[in-house]
């Protein structure tokens, strides 16, 4: 199979730098996967693994193994904004699960799936280390803390 995915020139240069940044080349796999995800609308496709394998001169299996192990890598497409609602203990005690359900309802999307307009993927996730500001959610890279359902809906409505 020929590889159809390619990183930007900048992205490829970044991966090459990461290969030399750490003592072992394998340490570049995680940063490389982050880069692919960033340039590929938030997920890592099978083609991009083939591409990385050539670029990094590492077997696909070794990249795939890392990809599958860590929860922050998405192996299927996600919405333009990835909304992760913490449902672990302190958030659960402060309405995190109700918040996740309300957001899914409001934006008409099932847990972990993409909304019809492609805007959101809303997922229930485990503790994000912001328990004093429960309930909270992470929207892409940003922590939104001390939420009410209304506040959270407002934040997401602003996102195009």
């Amino acid at each position: 199979m020929t590889s159809t995915f390619q990183l930007s020139e900048e992205g490829a240069a970044f991966v090459k730098r990461e290969l030399n940044r750490y003592e072992d080349r394998h340490s570049a796999i995680i940063p490389a996967l982050y880069r692919v995800q960033k340039e590929n609308n938030g997920w890592v496709s099978p083609e991009s693994v083939t591409y990385l394998s050539h670029l990094m001169d590492l077997p696909e299996s070794e990249i795939e193994e890392v990809l599958r192990f860590y929860t922050m890598f998405n192996t299927k497409p996600v919405g333009r904004h990835h909304v992760q609602v913490c449902c672990n203990i302190s958030c659960a005690m402060n309405g995190g699960r109700e918040l996740a359900d309300r957001l899914c309802q409001e934006f008409d999307v099932h847990d972990g799936e993409i909304s019809g307009d492609g805007r959101f993927t809303i997922s229930r996730v485990e503790c994000l280390g912001a328990c004093d500001k429960a309930p909270m959610m992470q929207v892409n890279d940003t922590f939104c803390e001390g939420l009410t359902e209304e506040k959270a809906i407002e934040i997401l409505r602003e996102m195009k």
Binding site: Y34, V66, Y70, I89, N94, R97, G129, C131, D132
Partner: protein, 431 residues
């Protein structure tokens, strides 16, 4: 009362950047350290009684002295993969005081004669990563990292590494696997990392708070550090308090501080005038305390161990009487099931079964023997695996069932929670 040793300047925004940090005495202790022999520093840290602040509470100085006496390169890894549910202190430390961590690390690296260190930060903490990365660049520019630091002849390089979402990477050998570019699966010990760690080379892994504390121990001396805390639990510690309290947050208090005062004085007691039901004193893997036990507990390693729980990472989760313990246990067990790395059968299968059994109870399909089954499965998971995750799931399970058995039995018998909550459907919560 709070004792702000590490957190003294945390409310000053300028403490975050090198200029402000230096103005407030930053890097003065590093100069002092270079006037000492590395072995002297290790002895001071040993005498201070400092114990690992990440969860296991192992004596730091002793850990350092396990390094073999040879010329192999050795690594220092900072464990910033804060993931124990309820814990959020390391994030604050990195975001408000990155240079405090760097200074503590260079002093520690000098003590153990390591030329290279990494700070392994959990992937979700992007703000911590950016802040620490920037501070490292500042430290290089200021001459606090790199070659011949402050004219001492000591060279040290430091870099950051981002995890990608895996609780298990907070286990030190799991973290090493992850940093090596592999799945973050823990390795069998021995050999311990101090002997064969990162890239099979001698490696010391310490938590963020532990490394930051080293700075103050060297600055003030072991005896001064010991003025706070108890004989076996020396110094201050940061506690992350969350749950149903009025003022959740991080509190630095001397070890040995009464849990009752932490909850009812510092944190303002329970919200909405509710009653205390239970407290998880050290992160979600620590066995739960009943309200009665919590009122008697002091926050130190020995008291909590005596009560059959543990200080862990210092995450205090305060639970009021509006919560159903079966429901909360389901949340906890779902987490450990999700995070089991799958290497060891008792953990991979055990966490799955615990999760399944408690799910069947909480959705109204439980059988009376399921309550016993939970205990039986959990007991079979203890002490039989490569790392502590299996125990981390089993311990809360056993404590929840033992201490709140009536709630479990009620749920099975009646098919509903003993705790009535308006408009609340427990089965629906766990779809």
């Amino acid at each position: 009362m709070e004792v702000k040793l590490l957190t003294e300047h945390y409310d000053k925004p300028e403490f975050k950047a090198l200029v402000g940090y230096k103005k407030l005495g930053g890097y003065d202790t590093l100069k002092k350290a270079f006037g000492m022999k590395p072995k002297e520093i290790i002895e001071i840290v040993k005498a201070s009684g400092l114990r690992g602040r990440g969860g296991a509470g192992f004596p730091t100085g002793m850990k350092w002295s396990f390094l073999p006496e040879n010329n192999e390169p050795r690594y220092l890894l900072c464990n910033a993969d804060e993931g124990e549910p309820g814990t959020f202190k390391d994030r604050m430390m990195m975001e408000r005081a990155p240079h405090q961590l760097i200074e503590g690390m260079v002093i520690s690296a000098y003590a153990v004669q390591s030329k290279k260190s990494y700070i392994y930060i959990r992937g979700e903490y992007t703000e911590s990563y950016r802040t620490v990365e920037k501070a490292i660049r500042e430290a290089y520019d200021g001459g606090f990292l790199g070659k011949n630091i402050l004219g001492s002849g000591f060279d040290h390089d430091m870099d950051v590494y981002s995890g990608a979402g895996a609780y298990i990477c907070g286990e030190e050998t799991g973290m090493i696997s992850s940093l090596e570019g592999l799945k973050g699966q823990p390795k069998l010990k021995p050999p311990f990392p101090a002997v064969k760690g990162y890239l099979r080379k001698p490696t010391i892994v310490n938590n963020v708070e532990t490394l930051a504390a080293v700075k103050y121990i060297i600055r003030d001396g072991a005896q001064a550090y010991r003025k706070n805390g108890t004989e076996k639990s020396a110094g201050t510690k940061l506690f992350s308090v969350s749950g149903n309290v009025v003022r959740p947050g991080n509190y630095e208090i001397p070890l040995g501080y009464p849990l009752k005062d932490l909850i009812f004085n510092l944190c303002g007691g329970l919200k909405h005038g509710r009653k205390l039901k239970a407290v998880i004193p050290g992160g979600s893997s620590a066995p739960v305390l009943t309200a009665d036990e919590a009122m008697r507990a002091t926050m130190d390693y020995e008291c909590l161990a005596q009560m059959g729980s543990m200080l862990g990472s210092g995450a205090v989760i305060v639970i009021d009487d509006s919560n159903c313990m079966v429901d909360l246990m389901k949340v906890i067990l779902h987490f450990y099931h999700h995070e089991s790395c799958g290497q060891c059968t008792p953990c991979r299968e055990g966490t799955g079964w615990l999760d399944k059994i408690v799910t069947s109870i909480v959705t109204g399909h439980g059988r009376l023997q399921d309550v016993q089954l939970l205990e039986k499965v959990a007991k079979n998971m203890m002490g039989r695996t490569i790392c502590a995750l299996s125990d981390a799931a089993a311990m809360p399970a056993i404590s929840f069932v033992t201490k709140f058995r009536d709630e479990f039995e009620f749920f099975v018998r009646e098919g509903r929670s003993k705790v009535k909550k308006e408009g609340y459907n427990y089965a629906q919560m766990h779809h």
